[in-house]
Amino acid sequence: MPTRRVDLLVVGGGPAGLAAAARASELGVRRVVLVDERRWLGGILPQCIHPGFGLHRYGRDMTGCELAEKLIDRVSSLDVDVYTEAHTVRMGYESYLSKTAEVLTPRGAFRFRAKTVVYAAGARERTCFEAGIVGSRPAGVYTAGEVQEMMDVWGILPGREAVVAGSGDVGLIVARRLTLEGVKVKAVVELMPYPGGLLRNVVQCLEDYQIPLLLSHVVLAVEGSKRVESVLVAEVDENLRAREETVKRIPCDLLVIAVGLIPRVELLAGAGAMIDPKTGGPVVNEFLETSLPGVFAAGNALVINDLVEHAMEQGELAAESAYRFIEDGGFRSASWKRVRVGDGLRFVVPQLLAGFRDVKLYLRASSPSENARLLIPELGKSVRLRSVRPAEMITLTLKAEDVLKAERLTVKLV
């Protein structure tokens, strides 16, 4: 297998990977290679034909496709060597300045030896198996992302009468798309007592079209032999267990699974990176560096984001860190402080801080609340939040000098 030496290998050509490759090239990193397994770049953006992208960053509202083309054009104008339809089989950590990736591409099989890696392989959707849905497995059970791609890339209508399991953003957006194409969406079924997606999507995708949202409900089983004929839905009690007396049958020929995303970290974990069970992504420090020196993570492979801007800024930070790593031959050693996740929060990213630079923390609340306070007791910091929702990421920027002087750091939401 031919070996190619590169300074930066970007794994994944979605918004985080594209932003990373562009930023690194603009900073002057030479020999930047980007690999992506699909035929076109952009990750999930090309199947997102709805608006709501880039408003915070570009001051204008674009569709996912429009943003994708903008990002791809930027990378194409720079000295970035792009491989599409390139499947990364394995990644490895050889030494401080050499990480390997074995990649199958239409141009042949290559072993890349990279000084630095930005890992931005995105996420995968949880399946109906992971949602615990039993029953038969006929045609007509798809994840929300599959439905999006079928309809909006390939022009295939996947059914006539649909039930959506889960109320994550992709599920809500798919419910609206199905409705606009004449499909009857009979219900969106959410296990929790609150919706999984952003408020604006609940309003503009469901309320606008009077699609019923069944909170504290669960899809139990699929029925049908060749094609989905119906699903069984029930209310759940406070322990999220189905109440048998509430089971009802909803006839439909399409079940859309929208029960969340999981960071794709198999390659990273295979190379030995430490994974945070809270995020499902790698443990990173304030440079977004994983436990493997010179390997950085960004986008949904790092943490499930709800805004594309967050994925892109992570990609850019990872690229800036890779640039520093290459220029300086690595980072100075430091006593990393692990941020402890206290009450009211599911996770914090980055997990390790030292105070080299100001750092933006990404946090997710455990449950919805009003008039909450985000606390870091060791810094005497208290931020009032009028309203928090698990669906909307909380961000907080800490000053380097504050992090530097703190002995320990704990974040909690009260």
Binding site: P46, I49, H50, P51, T63, E69, M151, Q204, V388
Partner: protein, 130 residues
């Protein structure tokens, strides 16, 4: 008196607004900030959305092209507009921003492509070079 319930989407708080109209007098209740007040009035008086859909492409590298309305259109016309676009086709290549149809439902809005689609021939040539 008309009474319209609106959920404000400008921030995660999600205030429930009640907008009422009586003899041309509009009143908004339940808003938490000035932006919410304006949003409530707009949503009650003139709710509008950008319509998105896909249009079949002839001889394209991909079979459909995503499109949007050039401006938001009245919310109650979304389904009608979506139906009006049935039967519309476009020939590849399609450029991002290309106008596919003009003056949809006499609303003075155009349908524009939101993705570039190459002609199928380009794809074959690209493959041939590999």
């Amino acid at each position: 008196m008309r009474r319209i319930e609106v959920t404000c989407i400008l921030c995660p708080v999600g205030c429930r607004l009640t907008v009422t109209e009586e003899d041309g007098e509009w009143k908004v209740e339940g808003y938490g900030c000035r932006r919410g007040l304006a949003y409530g009035l707009e949503e009650a008086q003139n709710p509008s959305r950008v319509l998105i859909t896909v249009i079949p492409v002839d001889d394209g590298e991909l079979p459909v092209v995503p499109v949007k309305t050039s401006k938001p259109i009245p919310k109650n016309l979304l389904l009608k507009a979506s139906k009006a676009l049935a039967g519309l086709r476009v020939k590849a290549p399609v450029r991002l921003g290309q106008v596919i149809a003009r003056n949809l439902l006499d609303l003075d809005v155009n349908i524009v492509a939101t993705r570039s689609i190459k002609a199928r021939r380009d794809r074959v040539e690209a493959d041939g070079q590999k």
